[in-house]
Amino acid sequence: MERTGIDLWVGMFVVAGVAALVMLAMKVGNLGTYNVSDAYQIHAYFANIGGLKATASIKSAGVLVGRVESISLDTQRYEAKVVMNIDKRYQFSRDTIGKILTSGLLGEQYIGLDVGGDTEMLKHGEQLKKTQSAMVLEDLIGKFMYSKAEEPAK
């Protein structure tokens, strides 16, 4: 089979198209962002997860340390069970507190880990004992209104 100029052009076209797809996947999409390859799993129970979704990020001191693996409702406790993948490079003490936080006023929700002082570290399959649920705006407003109503009229 002889080579022609057309083959070169078509080759360039296909390469450019595939490169565009790869660029979309890596740069635009979430395929290129932090993949927890070597990870251990821990889980935690939250009374309310708000808008947390699977694949949401887990941060400690603002640094991305893992991703949420799955979220389910535990019908024994009627609380949300959140399974997290944490990068092996990062170890956390056993009294670490998991909080559901929001990035910015209307941003996406993530789990923030506040490390405690315990010398023993969390191992694969263990549970975060202390958690803080997501802030739900309606609850906050409700509390505020009740506290206002309880105040004596001036």
Binding site: M1, A20, A25, V28, G29, N30, G32
Partner: protein, 262 residues
């Protein structure tokens, strides 16, 4: 009786349309059936890839750049009201990857490559090249139609991906370089919001479906064109009109299936 005449005309047109849909479907399956031999002669597909894909590159890239730039400007104007300019990247990327990339690229593809396909095949028919081929025991669908069909199907997703990628850079150029939206939040929010399977892969599936629809319509109109100068020009017009409408209709159906209610 003008009323009876109108009703008769409407009925005639409806029956004619259904007839043509049936013929186009049969034509589509015939093309699939004869595709095997065109894969054995892959240089035919390469040649068609050149004329459909490579030749459409410039229009796709330029259009993508401008669409991305317009999205950047308009998105900024709207998002500014809610104080969330940093979400500009999300808006540009999702708009392009989900909708504008596949749809606008397919519309451009229909008018750039689809019309050319129809005119080419229609003219072959008018100059009796197709009958000559049949006489030489070469099946015209295997020799002429199938390579063009596969070239269209291969090039459409690639063109749509290029359109989206260039468009994202257009939005980046206007949003970040010119207006001054924060570069970090532009990319970071985009990456957090655009899901590979849900957004990018669905966009590729869309463009694949549009590519199939456009090439089938273009090839069928050409193959079915009356072998006159007038017939070929009418068929070319019909290709652009029909495939544009079909693209938009299919887009609604696909969007409802992929993103609706979730």
């Amino acid at each position: 009786m003008p009323a009876a005449k109108t009703i008769r005309a409407i009925g005639h047109r409806t029956i004619n349309a259904v007839w043509r849909i049936g013929m186009a479907t049969r034509f589509f399956f015939l093309t699939l059936m004869y595709s095997g031999s065109s894969f054995r002669r892959f240089h035919l597909i390469i040649k068609e890839l050149f004329s459909t894909g490579v030749m459409s590159l410039i229009i796709i890239v330029v259009a993508g750049l401008f669409v991305g730039m317009v999205l950047g400007l308009q998105g900024y104007e709207t998002l500014k009201r809610y104080g969330s300019e940093s979400a500009l990247g999300v808006m540009v990327a999702l708009g392009l990857v989900r909708e504008l990339g596949p749809v606008v690229a397919a519309l451009l593809f229909a008018s750039r490559a689809g019309s050319a396909m129809t005119a080419e095949i229609g003219l072959m028919k008018a100059t009796e090249q197709i009958s000559a081929m049949e006489m030489m025991a070469v099946h015209p669908i295997a020799r002429i139609v199938a390579p063009r069909f596969w070239a269209g199907i291969i090039s459409m997703p690639l063109l749509a991906a290029l359109f989206s990628a260039v468009g994202v850079f257009g939005g980046y150029f206007v949003g970040v370089v010119q207006i001054g939206v924060d570069e970090g939040s532009f990319w970071a929010q985009m990456q957090a919001a655009v899901d590979f399977e849900h957004d990018i892969l669905n966009g590729v599936i869309k463009s694949f479906v549009f590519g199939t629809a456009v090439t089938v319509i273009a090839l069928f109109e050409g193959y079915d064109a009356p072998p006159t100068a007038e017939g070929v020009s009418g068929a070319t017009t019909r290709t652009v009109v029909t495939s544009s409408l079909v693209i938009l209709m299919l887009d609604f159906i696909l969007t409802a299936m992929m993103f609706g209610g979730s």
